[in-house]
């Protein structure tokens, strides 16, 4: 299946953000990724099999509930880093929408980004 990977992990994938892996569950996909890209799993999941605080795993568009969650056929896996840093106190949001790099930018800014900024004034401190 297709696994889309966040840029901080590109050092493991040779610069690729779009890789292939196999597995019936999230845990199996992570194990397969670690075989292909040694060390990558420990950056995402700790030694107690907990997804690290600032990492997120999605099956399709839904957050993975557990590592043993089964993956439906034809689903993509997204391994992302949470928006933290200065916005650590905000609720994290993630959304996939149809479009290319340019055709819906204005609409998204108006419908999503500006209301978000108005609702959330400047952060008080930068934690990173």
């Amino acid at each position: 299946m297709r696994v889309l990977i966040a840029s901080p992990l590109y050092s493991y994938t040779g610069g690729r953000g779009d890789v292939e892996a196999t597995g019936a569950t999230v845990a199996e996909v992570l194990a397969d990724l670690d075989r292909r890209f040694p060390g990558i799993r420990f950056r995402i999941v700790d030694e107690q099999d907990r997804v690290r605080q600032h990492m997120r795993i999605y099956v399709g568009t839904e957050p993975a509930a557990a590592l043993d969650q089964r993956i439906p056929a034809d689903q993509e896996i997204h391994i992302l880093q949470a928006l933290s840093g200065g916005a650590a106190y905000l609720t994290h949001m993630f959304e996939i929408y149809e479009g290319n790099h340019v055709n819906r930018v204005a609409e998204r800014v108006e419908a999503k980004v500006l209301p978000f900024i108005w609702k959330n004034p400047a952060p008080q401190r930068d934690t990173h």
């Binding site: 060390g39 420990f42 700790d46 030694e47 107690q48 690290r52 933290s84």
Partner: protein
């Protein structure tokens, strides 16, 4: 009359910051310095240590804000880096129990020359790990990670940056004889390679605890053992500067001999590698809410040449006023050259250096990210 003997060897200065590592290459006179490119730019570098057994291998304890912690290795003195295959990690907890996870490796200590490839690592939360293959793979010391940490409990776990295991000191006469410092835990000794530990905190104040003279729970910021006199230990503690001469068991607060207006609170402490009686500290303001900045805005290094009986202020070249520097515990180093070079890095990204054992200071670099660690080596 001939002048003092001058070092003819180049110097390597290793800087770890909140945003990557930086290597400065100094000429033998330590006047001209070349900074090479940032290494792992954006990564938090807690410790960066050159192996004195080969002067080529370097280990770096690093993580990013998002990803898990790793150890990076270089076998060509920092030109290229590769990740360790099995970084420090705690044992998996039994099903249904919450296990601990390494947040970051905080401290790295090379083993003795008689044990090539051996390294020690201290972590946050408290943990002790050992490598026998130059840092490629690491295994936990259960006598520490399970037994000692269990005894300490939650003391110190709530410190702002997390509890850290640091100052892993190996007796040069006996590799199984270890000392280690735990922030919010105290100083401990093992004579069996880490299988069992005993507290070594008598005489050390713990004003932040209800029991002012507890067996454990003290807060050493850094400890050092003198290589030429391995029975001599020094520590800069949350509650003062101390010396212990073994087999003695009670630390002496040598910081009481510091000027009262300056106090004896600080993070770093370094020793003169050729004189067990000479050491340096950098005091900070530990009053009221603990600003941790230069007392009165007047930064100074203090040297003792008689094992702490008296201290002298060394501030020539440092700002005379209005300078509020913070220097972390791993950000003060000596280079081993003769005369001894001293270097410290600030959380404001400046590196200050002296090539005459602290008599005069100058800025080596500014505008670096927040400095976590400074190490220096005179290269053969």
């Amino acid at each position: 009359m001939a002048g003092p003997k001058r070092s003819r060897r180049p110097t390597l200065l290793m800087i770890g910051t909140r945003k990557g590592a930086f290597l400065f290459h100094g000429d033998p006179a330590r006047r001209a310095w070349r900074l090479d490119w940032p290494h792992l730019l954006g990564c938090i570098v807690h410790h960066l240590v050159l192996d004195p057994r080969d002067n080529r291998t370097m280990l770096m304890a690093t993580r990013t804000g998002h990803l898990g912690p790793v150890i990076m290795r270089s076998t060509d003195r920092g030109r290229t880096w590769a990740e360790s295959k099995l970084p420090p990690a705690f044992a998996k907890a039994p099903e249904g129990q919450a296990g601990r996870a390494v947040d970051h490796t905080f401290w790295l200590s090379p083993g003795l020359p008689s044990q090539p490839g051996v390294w020690w690592a201290g972590t946050s939360p408290h943990g002790l790990f050992r490598s026998q293959d130059g840092g490629v793979t690491w295994s936990g010391i259960e006598g520490f990670n399970r037994d000692l940490v269990g005894r300490i409990g939650t003391i110190g776990q709530e410190t702002p940056d997390g509890a850290v295991t640091h100052s892993i000191l190996v007796d040069p006469r006996e590799p199984k004889h270890l000392y280690v410092g735990l922030s919010g835990g105290g100083s401990f000794e093992s004579r069996d390679g880490g299988a069992s530990w005993r507290a070594l905190n008598r005489g050390v104040a713990a004003t932040f605890l209800p029991d002012k003279d507890p067996e454990i729970g003290q807060d050493p910021h850094i400890m050092a053992l003198h290589p030429l006199k391995p029975d001599r230990l020094y520590q800069q503690n949350h509650c003062g500067i101390y010396r212990l001469d073994r087999p003695g068991e009670v630390w002496t607060r040598i910081g009481m001999n510091m000027p009262k207006t300056v106090g004896d609170i600080g993070f770093p402490l370094v020793l003169h590698p050729r004189d067990p009686d000479t050491l340096w500290v950098i005091p900070m303001d530990g009053t009221t809410v603990w600003p941790r900045t230069s007392p009165g805005g007047k930064p100074a290094v203090y040297r003792s040449r008689n094992a702490g009986k008296s201290w002298e202020r060394q501030a020539a070249g440092l700002p005379r006023r209005d300078a509020w520097l913070t220097i972390k515990r791993q950000a003060f180093a000596t280079d081993g050259a003769d005369p001894l070079g001293l270097y410290f890095g600030t959380t404001g990204g400046e590196i200050w250096m002296s090539t005459d054992e602290g008599k005069r200071w100058r800025v080596l670099a500014s505008h670096l990210p927040e400095i976590y660690t400074v190490q220096a080596a005179s290269l053969g």
